[in-house]
């Protein structure tokens, strides 16, 4: 069988002592930078690029890939412990993960994140090996109209993220979209809401926004609480998942993996969108949707599985089409080009040991991550017993350094401070920031895809319903809207409304 022969080739390449070493180095480094809020895989990989010249291309790519998925693991650790998402894809993990930590279940939350990520990683690796060439063509089925409809669907689904009022959630999504419009209009080159700051020409920096809204706002509100300055209660129960916990996380992890694998293929925010979507889906199918946001296991398992699966399947368009689906993939293409390998449809045939070696190293990397992270949970949880008065200045300091390192500019730090204040006000007003962040992330693409589709159709709105994929997604979106507004179909109005909330 071809697949087996290919995998053997891959494992032969990945299991050499040298490559095993680089894979380990990559994931350890990735986990470390993932844990540090703000310092993401992009600057790290960029800084390490020159050091990879001397390596054979397989080793270079294996190490850089390790950094990438290692950071996906590490990012969830800060989300859970201190409510600071290091990456846009771990924003959702804050919702239930941090609540679990506050309830004294930090260990369980971390274990859930690690195990469901591991599961997703294994499945995605097999998918990558078996279907990479076929799956790559999915990207070509998506034109601007399809993407626009997908974004609409994603945004409406985001209402499910909120666990307070639907009205608040919708307002927050719209607020997020408006923030996403700040910057240069790519069609006309006009400046929107930049108020003369050239730092805003390319829009608001995501890291500054997310760390302000989540991290700083959290610090302010904790500092304002007189009695309980402890990040989490002293009582730590359930460090390890019980058999029942494992059963509970299985189905969400499977669903998250499926969703993540699919969305990871699409260029543009696959990992982020998939973690939001997986959370929304889990809440929809749950028997107790009201509990989401208070610290439920499912709310951690599903998005963590989804973002990890997406992180891995996003290699498919990069390796097979030479199309980066995010900034990290763009860097990987740069790394390959430095080694005179032109990423594109021919990589699999021309450099099979590189392609299959990378696939195999992903699985190996996932094993290393679990081995590395499960014992580390004790260390992380210990961190929570540090008195808050020492912890919060450190959080602020690390956040400032993190934001500064993204743009090398103090403007980002001021921006973060401003959003910290806004986040605190929103928190007091019971407005949840997660839907706002999704609005921000998707809003820019929403507009861009809409205008692109309209330019191509010469201004005809029919383009969105003429294309079957697009029409199907719009119908699904309309169905979601109907569940908000026509709730009398089967059950009593109040009950359904509660569920929609």
């Amino acid at each position: 069988m071809d697949l087996l022969a290919n995998l053997v080739l891959g494992f032969e390449a990945a299991l050499t002592l040298q490559n095993l070493g680089y894979a380990t180095l990559g994931v350890v480094l990735g986990t470390a930078i993932g844990v540090l809020p703000g310092l993401g895989p992009v600057p790290t990989i960029a800084m390490l690029l020159p050091l990879t010249y001397a390596l054979p291309p397989e080793s270079a790519v294996i190490m850089l890939a390790g950094i990438f998925y290692g950071s996906q693991y590490g990012g969830s650790t800060t989300s859970i412990l201190v409510n600071i998402p290091g990456e846009s894809s771990s924003v959702v993990t804050c919702l239930d993960g941090h609540k679990m930590a506050r309830n004294g279940q930090a260990g369980l939350a971390l274990a859930t994140a690690a195990l469901s990520s591991f599961f997703a990683g294994c499945v995605a690796t097999v998918l990558l090996a078996a279907f990479a060439p076929t799956l790559a063509s999915v990207a070509f089925k998506f034109g601007p109209a399809e993407y626009f409809s997908l974004m609409v669907l994603g945004l409406l689904g985001a209402v499910a993220l909120a666990h307070g009022s639907v009205l608040h959630a919708i307002c927050m999504i719209l607020f997020g979209i408006l923030l996403g419009l700040v910057g240069t209009d790519i069609t006309s080159g006009g400046q929107r809401f930049t108020m003369g700051f050239s730092e805003l020409f390319d829009g608001i920096e995501f890291v500054a926004l997310a760390m302000g809204l989540f991290g700083l706002a959290e610090v302010i509100s904790n500092a304002g609480r007189q009695d309980d300055r402890q990040l989490v209660t002293k009582k730590l129960s359930g460090l390890w998942p019980s058999r029942a916990d494992l059963r509970r996380m299985t189905a969400p992890a499977v669903r998250g993996t499926a969703l993540g694998s699919l969305l990871g293929l699409l260029p543009g925010g696959g990992a982020t969108l998939s973690s939001f979507a997986a959370y929304a889906l889990e809440k929809k199918v749950s028997k107790r949707p009201r509990d989401f946001g208070t610290g439920v296991l499912e709310g951690v398992a599903a998005p963590e599985a989804a973002n990890n699966a997406a992180a891995q399947t996003s290699f498919i368009p990069m390796l097979t089409l030479g199309m980066p689906s995010n900034a990290v993939m763009a860097l990987m293409i740069g790394a390959l080009m430095l080694h005179n390998i032109q990423p594109g449809p021919q990589v699999i045939t021309n450099n099979p040991q590189l392609f299959w070696g990378l696939v195999a190293s992903m699985w190996i990397g996932n094993v290393i991550l679990v081995v590395l992270n499960l014992p580390m949970i004790f260390v992380w949880v210990k961190m929570l017993s540090i008195p808050y008065r020492y912890l919060f200045p450190s959080i602020i300091l690390i956040s400032c350094v993190g934001v500064f390192s993204v743009t090398n500019d103090v403007f980002g730090v001021f921006l973060m401070a401003a959003f910290g204040a806004i986040g605190y006000i929103l928190l007091r007003l019971d407005c949840e920031v997660a839907p706002m962040l999704l609005g921000f992330v998707l809003g820019q693409s929403l507009e861009a895809y809409f205008r692109r589709a309209m330019l191509i159709s010469d201004g005809s709105l029919w383009v969105f319903v003429e294309r079957p994929l697009s029409a199907a997604m719009l119908i699904l979106a309309a169905t979601i809207v109907m569940t908000f507004f026509i709730p009398t179909l089967t059950r009593k109005r109040t009950e359904v409304f509660r569920e929609a909330e």
Partner: protein, 325 residues
């Protein structure tokens, strides 16, 4: 470890390597040299900036670090360079955008011609006119005929307002007296997906970005914008051969420093760049980004820089490209 510390560590490694070959530096450089890159890590200017920083730290015997100042069509990095002390310790790796194009389109707080001192050319990267392969069009002449027969039907993709893709397509429209509709994308990859699937029809892609899809037979190349045919695609005619010499144009990557830097320092930097580009291995790595390396002395490059600036300005005025606020 923070990014600063990592960078410091890297700088120390680089400096260690540099000490071994320590060149005799008289006065310059007296401290760490910073190379500004106006884009995020991942693109051509970043990769070229990092290659140069490595080579320069060997040649100059001082650590040379890259600082990314992304944003606003690379003009934030350019502005930071203009505001640095004019002593040659701040360099800027620029593509055509911030130095030749953006000044005609955006209101900037620096004067490109005065506040940026040209140091030397690094590489010239040609663009290639690629089209959807199912249009029944095989040559530039057939494309022009197709556009004349179906007015308004052809859409061209770009990597955004004010990029070379737009300048070239608009220049082509004027030269061939045809019309095509601009559809902006956030980069080369999504543009290519839509051309391959036939949603849009054409773009003037940069050669490094287009090569893989051309080799795989997904995109059809019909002309290159360089003066000579490319060794990689010997069958693709130049745009001049196709009858539109006005569209002959290449994106440049070049090195600048702060305006007002003393002449001897500028000359030393130019000589260092020339020396770097003579190293066959370094040259090969730069050329992996799709261009041809061309060495110019400072005076030649100053002239070239001015010509490019004027030429883009004229196209932008004629095509009526202006940011609408």
């Amino acid at each position: 470890m923070t990014s600063k510390m990592l960078r410091l560590a890297l700088a120390m490694v680089a400096a260690g390597a540099a000490l071994a070959t320590a060149a005799h530096a008289e006065g310059y450089p007296s401290r760490t040299v910073t190379i500004m890159v106006g884009a995020n890590p991942g693109g051509g200017s970043d990769a070229i900036g990092r290659l140069i920083s490595q080579k320069f730290s060997q040649l100059l015997g001082r650590s040379v670090v890259v600082e990314n100042r992304p944003g606003a069509s690379n003009t934030i990095g350019a502005a930071a360079t203009t505001k640095a002390k004019p002593d040659g310790h701040t360099l800027f790796v620029a593509a055509s955008t911030p130095v030749s194009i953006a000044p005609h389109l955006l209101k900037l707080d620096y004067d490109t011609l005065k506040d940026l001192q040209p140091v030397g050319l690094i590489t010239l990267v040609p663009n290639v006119l690629v089209i959807n392969k199912d249009m029944g069009v095989n040559t530039v002449a057939e494309l022009v005929a197709y556009m004349k027969a179906n007015p308004g039907k052809v859409k061209y993709g770009s990597s955004g307002f004010g990029t070379t893709h737009v300048i070239l397509a608009e220049q082509f429209n004027m030269a061939a007296d045809v019309k095509s509709v601009h559809v902006p994308y956030p980069g080369a990859a999504p543009t290519q997906v839509d051309i391959i699937s036939g949603v849009i029809q054409m773009t003037f892609d940069t050669v490094p970005a287009a090569t893989a899809q051309i080799k795989a037979g997904n995109l059809k190349p019909i002309a290159v914008t360089s003066p000579e045919r490319l060794p990689d695609m010997p069958d693709v005619p130049t745009i001049r051969e196709a009858g539109y010499p006005q569209v002959e144009m290449q994106t440049m990557y070049a090195l600048y420093t702060t305006g007002g830097t003393p002449r001897p320092t500028v000359e030393k930097l130019n000589a260092t760049l020339a020396k770097a580009l003579e190293d066959p291995d370094f040259r090969k790595r730069i050329e992996a980004f799709g261009g041809t390396v061309k060495v110019m002395n400072t005076a030649e490059f100053e002239r070239f820089n001015r010509e490019e600036y004027d030429r883009y300005g004229e196209i932008i005025r004629k095509a009526g490209l202006k940011a609408t606020n």
